[in-house]
Subunit: 756 residues, 2 copies
């Protein structure tokens, strides 16, 4: 397929959902209305760790419109939320393990009444000793809150002999790094509405990235078979990983209320409780060590990486795994030793956040590489170029890099565009301005740890009038999936874009397609759509050819028309003929990702089906009198395979960069004595419009043979390297080697002062 | 497939929807509730034919809660309801053509307000001359209300040379027959609720047999592409043909209101307006002529058959066609001449009713065959046996009868069971009791006139827990489709019945599967389910075999388990393994009926894919002093191929017989001067529980090679022959040859008196 011949793929088409969203017609979770609906509110643990003795709702019963209390006793199925290790009860029976954990729910006829009632429910409890620090959690004599050692999950990668190799290195560098939480700050808080159906089925409208996770949880909580649970994704106002696992818990809570009260029940979080109880990017601690010869050839890498998982495991094992696989960075290194832990603490459980365990360790290792260059007195890009993964090289897990690898080109592009080679530290009064670099490789999709989930379905139905309905199992959450997937469907069928209708997910229309995470939607759902479209395309193209009195290979298809000589027929005409011939115009597609492997003993294997790449250069100014930073510009280049929609790819880049920047220098969630201190947007500071840097975005399209129209994946990669690029620019600007994110002004100031 | 080996097919399993319906949990159209819903009411033509000058709702505007008026001006698409000839406007602009026709709609915040408002809307009109009698409509000098000759549709069948053959016959008999309307009398009147969606889509909940007809109509009226219209069949309380075409009009009216008022709109008919304006069984007139040699070999048949179509064509052309094809009866006759007409009148449009144009002409021809036997002094069964269709014979359209033909056996069974050969007229005071016979062949499915629609889809989705969702495009309307189709899915997958969930139709889940009519559901949707299940079955059976460490052909599958030697695995275990292997567990099936043909010039061709058969003997007692009849017992035997669920087949027989009996002797709709006089269940008398005869039902399963598990179709055939069997019993009992249905007591009494 020649790019020039595409009608829809590769075009910067407008978002198909732009109008409905811009005009305010889109119905988000809390906009939906159902007759007789009740509102639920959570009763939350007031302390980091408690033994629950009893729950008393006698005061709540006096609230007008109060429907009742839902506790663990009302769980009809299994009181284990099904996420990886299944240790999180839907509602705790004996012990609540973090401040803000939902202990029970109340429902009432209005939101206000429900909140009031929840505030009046009294939890009688005994306080238990709790753990706040993940490193302390791993100490021998710590209080044990999870298993026998507070270790939720642990991985190793062992390739070559790092210890031995370090001994032969000319230069060895080792540092510790820390990163803090990041809050997803999606526009729409967690929201679910459960509607009990007359036949005993449960329908849940959920603001979610992962409707099938929601299905699993609702079925488990309600004790229903899967075919009696239907999840409909309401229009979703942002995800970033925050709508990956946790919406399932919220939905299950709503469903338990609906089951008990036999009425539709809405559970919509306010911002504070969303902060307090919903997943976050894991805080991390790491110790990274690189060794190189004097020419800058990196010989060995050793990493110890600890994630603060919080009170329950949720997605931590998988987040940790992604971090583990990528911990040594995008370099061809022969001797690698990586050891990683997810440690339990009595704090909010952390989970998925764009980058999924990679940004934290990337910050550490890409910072340390820069410091290594300094020690070697080499240009940091030159050092990286010398060691960078290229076609044929092997990753830390021993996976051979496919020919779809544009990393070096990306580095060259940003180097050139930013004027790196001629750039110097610019001084302007108290201000110091410089460039910093980082680069990233990113395994697209779920990889070996999620391989059983790495499949996706699509339903394509062509109506008699030539309008087309497409359903997939992956979600639109603002990233543009509906548009990109519509383009793929239109291209494959040669249908006009306006004929394609792709909607939010309905789990009763497509099989379990796994989660919408890991930049896998274009790849997986795109391929599933193509699978579904191909037999339909065959029928349509055959009919078109016979209508044109031409051979099937003689006709040209473009932009919704079929041509032969001077004759043409439209897509709609061809479809009409297919229907007249009673040809099949409806298919379920199914795509299974290529095999991946991971040997738990040494972490070796083909961890991911393919990698995307990025290179970032940050142009940062630091005020050395205040420590404040201004990110003037980010030069970024990406290899994400074919761009299905360049405009949307740029948008993904912009959002990812800004989110990475917020995490790097501004966002600072404070938990002290097990209590979250700033669960709001006044005290938790996010980048706003005035903080937005200038963007210079480039793409190199290294095609991926198994990708839909040879695309890879785009969603997460733009965020990952930003923090390290900023950190390295700060180092260049004012000579301080920061090891902690967020790089708050006051801390930078302190470092600058200490250096002097 | 050996019957004895089936786990689910052929078993008298309980209805899967029995509980929900018995417990009152099933939500019928008028039970559904939507926030902000308005109620619509129709403004109807007060006269049989009017020119509309203007519509004035100024009085209606004073009704509290009044939302507004919807007239032809509010049709956003094409003002032609798409049904065969598309002559029926959704809302008339200039002329209304029958008393009770919807001229406009009003909507208001309550049902009562809507009805009140509708009653206050004034139609300013001029009355036009109208036609009531279909035979007069066909006269040269009649008022022309449809085309140039008031003929909506006309067919001929010409085989051999009937005129010539009559001349060589020893006996020729010719009579005229008439039949009257029949009202469907479904429990649930016409109901639709249209819900405008935020993206401009329209969802309609409809009590319907034919969701795709509804889709076509709503799309046409609203000017929406098909993929923006979704029809969900609400649980449907009876159809019998009355929910075939007309729900589309009701739904389109609701949708036009919803479009205008941007709110959900319910349109639910009360019984009176349902009587007045919804389709009915066509009244008919026919002249039938048979000629035979003295040995009883029938040489020729001539039929003229006229249906009173009413004001618009709707389904009349197709109803007429089925009547045409079957008009000569189930006999091997070499010379046939059939000429049929659907005539336009200014009365309620008639359409589909169980039997679809066949019962009327069957009444005539099976009556006349009996009279022919009398003239020949032959036993009526002997005469029929001599001429009856058998394998290898050809029908009136020249179609060769397949080996799946049990007609003779059926006749023998009822003859034997009823003691026919020894039976005599029994006299008891004024009462005379005797047996009467009739037999029927019935083309299953849509046949050649509906061949473009003769395809069906099915969606089968197997969840990870082994629960199964099945969606089809044909409907449950009380006949048991959900159960029969669940049995077919369970059998094909070897899944436990309880794992199968089959719901009412959602047009966004399956492709246009044609209507649920013509006893085609088991055949078409059953085959589509099998098509969808086969590749899934392949995966499941393979996994089961490998789990059992056996070859795929070595394992035994029964009742939801797989066996090899002493080992077994369950369906759920095998499915779990399929999912672990990421095998496809979701398919869209598509079944296309074999080709049928009909030459419009002479009516020759393979009219239907296969035929079902029935034989009836009615045991009837007539009170010769009152003319009243008591149907004591009906002996009926059917060949409908494999019985998927015998209990449901018996239920179909019971219902069909009773409905046939009601039409034969009780139900009498009166239209006088163009106005319906008894649109209610007080004055239109239906059989009630005390009228139910004893049933003696038998089946002969002549397998149909293309049927799902070799089934044919069952829904309509039990009704068709009942009237003639009763009529022939009455003749035997008291010697009067009735030619009109319903055979009301007063008319029978008159005939008895005249005979004396």
């Amino acid at each position: 397929m020649n790019k020039e011949n595409f009608s829809f793929v590769g075009k910067s088409l407008d978002r198909v959902d732009a109008e409905i969203k811009a005009e305010g017609r889109a119905l988000y979770g809390d906009d939906l209305d159902f007759p007789g609906m009740l509102y639920a509110a959570a009763v939350r643990s007031p302390r980091p760790r408690i033994r629950i003795k009893s729950i008393d709702d006698s005061a709540a019963r006096k609230v007008e419109g109060y429907a009742g209390l839902v506790s663990y006793k009302d769980v009809r199925g299994i009181n284990k939320w099904p996420v990886v290790l299944n240790d999180y009860p839907f509602l705790p029976q004996d012990e609540a393990r973090f401040h803000g954990e939902t202990v029970a729910l109340v429902a009432a006829s209005s939101r206000r009444a429900a909140k009031k009632a929840a505030s009046l429910v009294k939890i009688n409890f005994e306080e238990l000793p709790f753990i706040e620090d993940p490193l302390k959690a791993l100490e021998k004599d710590s209080v044990k809150i999870y298993g026998k050692d507070n270790v939720i999950s642990s991985f190793i990668i062992k390739k070559g002999d790092a210890e031995k190799a370090f001994k032969d290195c000319d230069i060895v560098i080792e540092k510790e790094f820390r990163t803090n939480y990041q809050v997803h700050a999606y526009l729409e808080t967690q929201t679910a509405t459960a509607v009990p159906e007359s036949g005993g089925e449960m329908t849940v409208y959920s603001s979610t990235q992962c409707p099938f996770y929601v299905l699993d949880a609702v079925a488990a909580a309600c004790g229903l078979p899967n075919n009696k649970v239907k999840i409909i994704q309401s229009v979703t106002g942002g995800g970033f990983g925050g709508k990956e696992d946790v919406p399932a818990l919220v939905a299950a809570h709503a469903a338990l209320c609906a089951l008990k009260f036999k009425r539709p029940v809405r559970l919509a979080y306010d911002r504070k409780e969303d902060f307090m109880s919903m997943s976050k990017r894991h805080p991390s601690w790491s110790r990274v060590k690189y060794g190189a010869d004097k020419n800058g050839r990196i010989k060995a890498c050793k990493v110890k990486y600890v994630l603060d998982a919080g009170a329950y495991s949720t997605l931590s094992p998988i987040v940790l795994w992604r971090g583990t696989v990528h911990a040594a960075g995008p370099y061809n290194i022969e001797n690698i030793e990586i050891e990683t832990y997810a440690a339990a603490t009595n704090k909010v459980p952390c989970g998925a956040y764009r980058g999924f365990g990679q940004p934290q360790i990337c910050f550490a290792q890409e910072s340390l590489i820069d410091d290594l260059a300094e020690k070697l007195a080499m240009d940091p890009i030159d050092l990286r170029m010398k060691n960078m993964l290229k076609t044929g090289d092997r990753t830390a897990t021993g996976q051979k890099i496919d020919d779809s690898c544009g990393l070096k080109e990306l580095a060259e592009i940003v180097r050139k565009k930013s004027g790196w080679d001629k750039s110097k530290v610019q001084t302007n009064g108290d201000k110091r301005r410089a460039l910093g670099f980082s680069c990233v490789y990113y395994g697209v999709g779920l990889g070996a740890k999620g391989r059983y989930l790495d499949r996706a379905g699509a339903f394509v139905n062509i109506y008699r009038d030539g309008s087309v309905q497409v359903n997939v199992g992956n979600t639109e959450m603002g990233q543009g999936a509906l548009t990109v997937l519509s383009q793929i469907a239109a291209e494959t069928l040669n249908a006009p874009m306006k004929n394609i209708k792709l909607s939010e997910v309905d789990t009763s229309k497509v099989p379990d397609s796994g989660p919408t995470v890991a930049s896998r939607t274009t790849l997986m759902s795109g391929n599933a759509i193509i699978e579904a479209c191909l037999p339909l395309r065959e029928n349509i193209f055959s009919c078109a050819a016979s209508m044109l009195k031409a051979g099937k290979n003689q006709i040209k298809a473009f932009g919704g028309f079929f041509y032969f000589g001077k004759r043409k027929v439209s897509f709609e005409e061809a479809v009409k003929e297919c229907w007249a011939q009673r040809l099949k115009m409806s298919e379920q597609g199914w795509y299974v990702a290529p095999k991946t492997t991971f040997d738990i003993k040494d972490g070796q294997g083909d961890a991911y089906v393919i990698y995307s790449y990025s290179a970032d250069i940050a142009d940062v100014e630091v005020d050395i009198k205040t420590g404040e930073k201004t990110v003037h510009k980010i030069y970024a280049a990406y290899d994400v395979g074919r761009l299905i929609n360049p405009k949307l790819a740029y948008a993904q880049a912009h959002g990812g960069i800004l989110q990475g920047m917020g995490w790097a220098i501004m966002e600072n969630l404070v938990i002290k004595d097990g209590i979250m201190r700033n669960p709001n947007f006044t005290d938790y500071v996010l980048p706003i419009s005035t903080d937005v840097p200038e963007y210079d975005i480039s793409f190199v399209e290294k095609l991926y043979k198994h990708g839909p129209y040879k695309a890879k994946g785009m969603g997460e990669v733009p965020l990952i390297g930003v923090a390290a690029a900023i950190r390295n620019a700060v180092k260049k600007a004012c000579g301080v080697s920061l090891t902690e994110a967020p790089m708050l002004a006051e801390k930078t100031l302190k470092a600058v002062k200490e250096k002097k």
